[in-house]
């Protein structure tokens, strides 16, 4: 899958392997458990383990109807199975990459002192995993774009919407690391706020100082 070769190369065959989807789930659970191990609280590890697959798959599910309609309107419906295959394998790549980075995260936790450093470190890990997912997606899209350049627009729209939703999903599902100074909870108190509004407010405040 990572090399985009063999039976997981770009193609039109739908991803139906329960075993493969199980591997993606296990990878997400593993990284989640490691990310939640910062404060060495088993409950936080369990919560974070559940949240990582929720984040990766949840954002995709929310955006799926739009992917379907947009591809149809753009006249790309015949390639939908190839697009879905690319999207699923890209999300699988994100999960596998996170799992691969789990040992590094564990080692980093041993050397990182502060909670904010751990949060920033995990932000970087997520970014690297997202870029790996993007690479898989691009490889699956390459033959499609060569056949019909409109696929580029469909891909960019998908990535834009997925990113937009995933950022808010991550904000809602926080904490992933778990602040040792706060009690362990699945959702942070006041979790139901908006990431974009918070960032816009911070930027506005710093500019108006």
């Amino acid at each position: 899958m990572l090399a985009t070769r063999g039976h997981l190369a770009p193609g039109t065959e739908p991803i139906r392997s329960v075993r493969l989807l199980g591997v993606f789930l296990a990878a997400g659970l593993l990284y989640g458990a490691v990310i939640g191990a910062y404060s060495l609280r088993p409950l936080q590890m369990l919560y974070s383990a559940l949240k990582v697959p929720l984040l990766v798959a949840g954002a995709g599910l929310v955006c799926l109807p739009n992917l379907f309609v947009l591809n149809t309107v753009l006249g790309l419906r015949e390639d939908l199975s190839a697009v879905l295959r690319g999207a699923i394998l890209a999300q699988g790549t994100v999960a596998i990459s996170l799992a691969a980075l789990a040992p590094i995260t564990a080692v980093a936790y041993l050397s990182l002192g502060d909670y904010p450093d751990a949060v920033v470190f995990n932000g970087i890990v997520f970014l690297v995993a997202a870029l790996a997912g993007q690479l898989t997606m691009s490889r699956h899209y390459r033959p499609l774009i060569a056949r019909n350049p409109r696929h580029r627009l469909a891909r960019d729209a998908w990535l834009g919407l997925y990113g937009f939703v995933a950022i808010q999903m991550a904000w809602v599902l926080r904490p992933f690391v778990g602040d040792p100074a706060r009690p362990t909870r699945f959702f942070r108190a006041g979790a139901w706020s908006n990431a974009y509004v918070e960032v816009a407010t911070l930027v506005w405040q710093s500019l108006s100082r």
Binding site: N66, V69, V73, Q168, V172, V197, A200
Partner: protein, 234 residues
């Protein structure tokens, strides 16, 4: 239900706007069939849009749900009704191959495509509704989704117009592309009237702490309101 979904699917795939039929000035789908596809799509997005009000409860939340699910399809259909005469006259002046009935069908087809894409944003709207308190953010998010789905509807229309006006000017006489001129004029008229129609039909989301109203007082306009939402975000 199944028939409506099949019709929407055929429309999105371009089955009603094929080169052969459009070239002969025909759009082979009935206005009633298109309207019966557009209405439920608008209702679906209206339901997602009114979730913000429903989530906050209160006496008017059920009424807001009903009002918004009716107002979203009405926004598009009323805008079309108001602009139709001017849009037809413009296209006839540009020597369109489409008769009045077929012009209505083409425009309604574009509106249905617009509503289909808008409805597909529904789960995203629902997700943000569940995870945000900010009313200005929800307004801006909805404006963005209306704008994006509107531009996809317009690109559908533009493609169709290119076929309709294909060969309308002799290559020896260099004149501005008639499809482009009609499209620009249609877009301008439809967008300005549509934005103001949205303003007249407000509220769609339902501001927290404000009692339910079917329609608000006549004041200001759409563009000033979007600017105000942007400022209130901070």
């Amino acid at each position: 239900m199944r028939q409506t979904l099949t019709r929407i699917d055929t429309l999105l795939r371009g089955g009603f706007t094929q080169r052969e039929t459009l070239g002969e000035g025909r759009v082979d789908v009935d206005v009633r069939q298109l309207a019966s596809a557009a209405l439920p799509l608008g209702v679906v997005y209206g339901l997602f849009m009114s979730l913000y009000s429903v989530m906050r409860g209160g006496a008017g939340s059920t009424l807001q749900l009903i009002a918004t699910s009716l107002k979203v399809p009405m926004l598009f259909l009323l805008t079309l009704l108001v602009t139709l005469p001017s849009l037809y006259v413009l296209s006839a002046l540009a020597r369109s191959r489409l008769s009045y009935v077929h012009t209505v069908r083409l425009l309604l087809a574009a509106v249905t495509v617009n509503l289909a894409l808008l409805a597909s944003f529904g789960p995203v709207t629902a997700f943000f509704t569940l995870s945000t308190e900010s009313y200005p953010f929800m307004i801006l998010l909805n404006v963005a989704f209306f704008a994006v789905s509107g531009s996809v509807g317009l690109s559908f229309l533009r493609k169709a117009l290119d076929i309709v006006f294909e060969g309308a000017t002799a290559p020896a006489i260099p004149r501005p592309d008639p499809a482009a001129r009609v499209f620009k004029a249609w877009t301008l008229i439809y967008a300005v009237v549509g934005a103001q129609m949205g303003w007249i039909l407000r509220p769609f989301v339902g501001a927290p702490g404000v009692p339910f109203q079917w329609f608000r007082e006549r004041e200001s306009n759409f563009f000033v309101a979007v600017w105000d939402s942007l400022l209130r975000l901070f």
